[in-house]
Amino acid sequence: MAEDKRKIAAVVVTFNRLDKLKTVLHCLETQTRLPDQLIIVNNAATDGTDKYLEKYQKDFKLGDKIQLDIVTLPENVGGAGGFSAGMRRSYELGADFAWIFDDDGYPQPDALEKLVDGYDAASEKMGTDIPFACSLVKFIDGTISEMNNPVTTWDWGRLMAQGLNIALVSRCSFVSVLIPRWVMEDYGLPYKEYFIWFDDAEYTMRITKACPGIQVMDSVVLHDMGSNKGVNYSMIDDKNIWKFEYGARNEGSFHLHHEGVYQYARFVAMVRNNMHRGHVAKPLQKRVYKKLREAWGFNPQVDYPQVPVKR
């Protein structure tokens, strides 16, 4: 069998979750198919992550197999900014694929191997290069992760009918996603301006306009989040309102500027109904509505990795 010369860059974005990051790095080091590059994006963490990464880099034992690259951002730019920076770095380092995840996603030992095999098998069956491949995301207790279920296409079972344990999907979250270099070049990077929320949905929808992505069921990642719950606008409270504010602005902006006023109105109605059903406090509802209005003036432009960042 010919040697696989494609370079895969594992991109981990971390912010103040040092303990979990250590587990993630251990999972990466013990992959059956090691990534060729490991890019760790330190999102201006304040919990000693920087010190740990300095030592990690110095003591890194897999230097002959993995090119380690640590990107320390001057300020926290959210998950969206972190993924954008990490993917850009993978492009600059000449990676053929960026394999992206958060600092609380633990890829199982053969996750990358299965993901690459699935990508190749699906590309061959589909007759074209797939724009992304994502893993099956489970909660740490082995049940399905409620908030990381990809959206399937109408013909999601097409590859299953051909004997592959792979579903066709049109959007997924950034918990173990393999993104080819050509996609970054042709479709750009996720919107860093989104900061958090909906960056993954928008990006995967953007890159699947012509061809769907895939979910490789044999590639498993455990998502170590607090509790295994889905999210919707009926769950807003004082603690999480800040995230929903980003969500409202980002998703509102996407619908308005990419799909038109009608879809934006539908989204606003859905948010309103959810908040109403969840008895969300009025002041919090007001804050969400304010962000929905803000969407009108919020329409970021796509960044491309081949264009250097303006300093």
């Binding site: 007759g127 074209t128 290069d129 050509w182 306009k209 796509v302 491309y304």
Partner: protein, 534 residues
């Protein structure tokens, strides 16, 4: 298939061949061959399926991702090629998409009802266009990577893909970029250059960029040539010219000959950027009224990437050098003498003066050739001197019905014979005593050279560079009414005096001989190609 093999090195592709309708044009290389829009999606069934693997060795990257503007066109490894029946013609295509809007209907009605008067309006338009064609031109600005990326309206950055170099010892080749594989003056000369390229020891790579049924594709001149009939839009984007890149990585391309090929004009800058040693030569035949001169205009605004402009007439040289200030050293007049006739052995063909004077029209039945002017001349002469003249119109085209209607209206059936192109043109010259060129625009017509070589004089509308060969007494003013008036007068003289007819031929023959003393296009190109093979 050659196109796909070149731009998809090493890949195995499945080719599905479909037979379309007569009213369609073949689709061979455009984006519909990737998505099957006109074939599979249209419910057609392939009549042939082939799987082929490209043996081309790439010298740079050929990503299989294609975009039509910002829309990705998925490449599933299948190419859906639409072919059309062998007997399909342009007429079949036109009949499916008739130009029968209110404006066209009004135009046609006016042209048919008042051909002479309507031409006053058209000639005014021609004069305005001629004036515009003489106005200074701005150099064309290519879509370079830098320019694309600097343009704020284009958000997607363009990535430059630099071509590799052909390995040492690669086959020497010359690209001949043509309009299409179909009859025409420029195409006849292009065909000749294919022969010359072969004779000079090069591999001819023939590219066409114009939709058509390509009836000439089977001509023997193209045997042993690489033929690339392109249908747009290709799998190209700014910053990359995959087909040219592949050709330059595979062959040692010494030069490019352009014969009315817009695609090649638009990529001349790319060739010069990466392969400055490759010579680019274009051949120009006629200054058009529209598009500010047509191909000569396209050539003039891309002058900086063209090494030599070969023109077939002094009028074209005047237009390029005196009007548009191109470097005179780069513009060479080399006539197409000898391409279709041998002028050296010409002798005057006397006529039997007891019989009517036979006037011939040879050319396609299209607007440019102005068949109505010829018919109106025939009508005027028949009215003035019934039975003293005979007329032959040889050629077909989209104005066949129009011409037949006028012939019937003026009751010219007995004195005017229509001939198709199936009749050898030599037979028409043999039967004729004088050739009348009624075109609204020309360079130097090959028919003029053919007629003189056959021993008959020519009278011609004073258009293009016809005055190079036709003296004042044989020239007719351009506007239809004036042309008919002048033609009637000239032909009456020629009918009355065989001496006059002979004098006109002698004067024209002398001009042709003088013109032929210029290095012929054949000799110029043979010499030039020899130089490229060093």
């Amino acid at each position: 298939m050659n196109y796909n093999a070149l731009i998809q090195p090493g890949r195995t592709l499945v080719f599905k061949l479909y037979m379309g309708e007569k009213w369609q044009y073949p689709r061979l290389t455009d984006l519909t061959t990737l998505n099957g829009l006109l074939t599979r999606e249209a419910g057609l069934k392939p009549f042939e399926e082939l799987s082929m693997t490209s043996t081309v060795e790439p010298g740079s990257a050929y990503p299989p991702q294609y975009f039509d503007q910002d829309q990705q066109v998925i490449d599933t490894g299948v190419r859906y090629l639409l072919l059309t029946p062998d007997d399909a013609t342009d007429k079949d295509v036109e009949s499916k998409h008739p130009n029968d809007g209110p404006r066209a209907k009004l135009y046609n009605a006016l042209e048919l009802s008042f051909p002479t008067q309507f031409d006053v309006f058209r000639d005014t338009k021609r004069s305005i266009r001629e004036y515009l064609g003489r106005k200074p031109v701005k150099p064309w600005i290519p879509r370079t990577v830098e320019r694309e990326n600097a343009w704020s309206g284009h958000h997607h950055p363009v990535v430059e893909i630099k071509p590799g170099k052909a390995p040492a010892g690669s086959r020497k080749a010359v690209i001949i970029a043509m309009h299409w594989f179909q009859a025409g003056g420029a195409e006849r000369w292009a065909l000749e250059t294919v022969k010359l390229v072969k004779q000079a020891g090069f591999y001819p790579i023939v590219i066409t960029d114009r939709d058509g049924h390509q009836p000439w594709i089977t001509r023997p001149e193209f045997d042993d040539a690489l033929l690339l009939p392109l249908t747009a839009p290709l799998q190209e984007r700014p910053g990359d010219a995959p087909l040219l890149r592949a050709l330059f990585e595979h062959f040692d391309i010494r030069g490019i000959l352009i014969h009315h090929c817009q695609w090649m004009y638009d990529r001349a800058w790319w060739v010069k950027k990466y392969f400055p040693q490759t010579k680019i030569v274009d051949s120009l035949h006629i200054v058009e009224y529209f598009f500010r001169g047509g191909y000569p205009h396209e050539s003039a605004i891309r002058d900086q990437w063209i090494d030599l402009h070969h023109v077939i007439s002094p009028q074209l040289r005047h237009w390029l050098v005196d009007i548009h200030h191109l470097d005179g050293k780069k513009v060479v007049v080399a006539p197409l003498v000898g391409l279709t006739a041998d002028a050296e052995k010409a002798t005057f063909k006397p006529r039997d003066v007891s019989k009517p004077l036979t006037v011939a029209f040879v050319g396609r039945m299209v607007r440019q050739k102005r068949p109505e002017a010829f018919i109106l001349t025939a009508h005027a002469l028949q009215q003035a001197r019934p039975g003293k003249f005979r007329f032959i119109m040889q050629g077909n085209g989209d104005m066949d019905i129009f011409a037949d209607t006028l012939i019937k209206r003026y009751n010219l059936g007995k004195v005017l014979e229509r001939r198709s192109m199936a009749t050898p043109v030599a037979k028409t010259y043999e039967d004729a005593d004088v050739l009348l060129v009624s075109s609204i625009n020309e360079g130097i017509t090959l028919t003029t050279i053919e007629a003189l070589s056959a021993g008959i004089p020519v009278i011609s509308a004073d258009v293009g560079s016809q005055s190079t060969l036709v003296p004042k007494q044989g020239l007719l003013r351009r506007m239809t009414s004036k042309m008919v008036h002048d033609a009637q007068s000239a032909l009456t003289h020629l009918a009355d005096s065989e001496d006059n007819r002979k004098q006109l031929w002698v004067a024209e023959e002398n001009r042709l001989e003088k013109f032929s003393q210029l290095e012929s296009a054949d000799d110029l190109f043979a010499r030039m190609l020899k130089g490229w093979n060093k």
